[in-house]
Symmetry: C2
Subunit: 197 residues, 2 copies
DNA sequence: CCGCGATTACCGAGTGGTCGGTAGGTTGTG
DNA sequence: CACAACCTACCGACCACTCGGTAATCGCGG
């Protein structure tokens, strides 16, 4: 029986995409290796041939998702700097990709539990993202934000708004205009303060 | 062997508190009835004598948690109206109660997956909370918010900030000053807009 | 172009364990 | 005697993961 359908790499990627779907639908704990394997026409043991354990599979899924997200963020700003508008565009893009958003929301929240295999990934990710976002804000809005806010304070607030809106949007997509509300928050950050220097 | 240690009601509550702990530590899917039972010195079947299924147990845990949170929010504003400052005080209170915050964060995110038993609870909860919060904002700040924001837009943003900060705080408590950042966001909402009527 | 050993890509069967839930008791109390 | 408060024993299903295969494919010397 011939199996020759592409390289090992493409097969691995096929599995990673299926895994992301299943993690989105059931969370990491609730997902079984067998159910992921079934989706790509493999036995559970066939999948474990490509990834030695469920933990490692999760790790590579997260790595892949991050890569792709970086593409969306960096490509439009090619050559130029990333602006707050690029970030808003990412939120708009996410509103079309429910599965991706759901996987991220479920996995990041799940990662706070003790000994979760994704805990380090998310802690590190938020740390670097906040630092990077603070610079984006400083570059665009300067150091003087409304209400005496610093870019270092605005950055975690920004990710909080993104994440929190995603949760509410996932629960009630018809009630929550995620991109609109995110832009409203950005507008809040951009208001010029009356008691200027 | 006498077991007479209080009423059925107190025994049930004891179980609910233990369940909240275990759900916080392992999520709903990851928690087992047996591990909750063990914590209150019962067998798994002993616990099922009080709550007929895991789903029902979760439902009652959430109901209890909501009741308690309402106490914190309503009692300080006794007689008077609830203000944004009361909400900030709740965030401060939460920063001392990691377990409660963690259970809420994990369970609410988990609830977005298909057929999750807590999905209706959280959808409804966010719906009513947003409406209620919009009124609190309107009562305190009026209809004219910075950047043309309406109270109906500010309410979901507020919960987004609360939830999103909780996630970042749970992952890195030392880096994130949750109450401080929340108050910073409130300050942002309170800035008087320069282009006033 | 052929043959052959190494490698790849799987699968069947099984391990030990946990899951939520049920059936049917026993024991002490009002 | 009825009932609450449990328990032991058990069920079938599922869990991640291991072992030991087998069939196809590849690189490569002749």
């Amino acid at each position: 029986m011939v199996r020759r359908r592409g390289s090992q790499e493409s097969r691995r990627e096929e599995i990673l995409l299926a895994a992301l779907d299943v993690f989105a639908e059931r969370g990491y704990t609730g997902a079984s290796i067998a159910s992921i394997a079934e989706r790509v026409g493999l036995s559970q043991q066939g999948l474990l041939h490509y990834f030695p354990s469920k933990d490692r599979l999760l790790a590579e899924v997260l790595r892949l998702r991050d890569e792709r997200n970086l593409d969306v963020l960096v490509l439009p700003g090619e050559g130029g700097a990333i602006t707050l508008d690029t970030v808003a565009a990412l939120v708009e893009y996410n509103a079309q990709r429910r599965g991706i958003v759901q996987s991220f929301t479920v996995l990041s929240a799940e990662s706070v539990i003790e000994d979760h295999p994704a805990k380090d990934f998310f802690r590190e990710r938020y740390g670097t993202s906040r630092a990077w976002m603070a610079e984006v804000i400083r570059a665009e809005l300067g150091d003087e934000l409304p209400a005496g806010l610093t870019p270092e304070q605005a950055a975690p607030l920004m990710f909080a708004v993104m994440d929190g809106l995603q949760l509410q949007w996932l629960l009630a997509p018809d009630e929550i205009d995620m991109p609109g509300l995110f832009r409203a928050f950005l507008a809040l950050l951009k208001t010029r303060h009356p008691a200027a220097e």
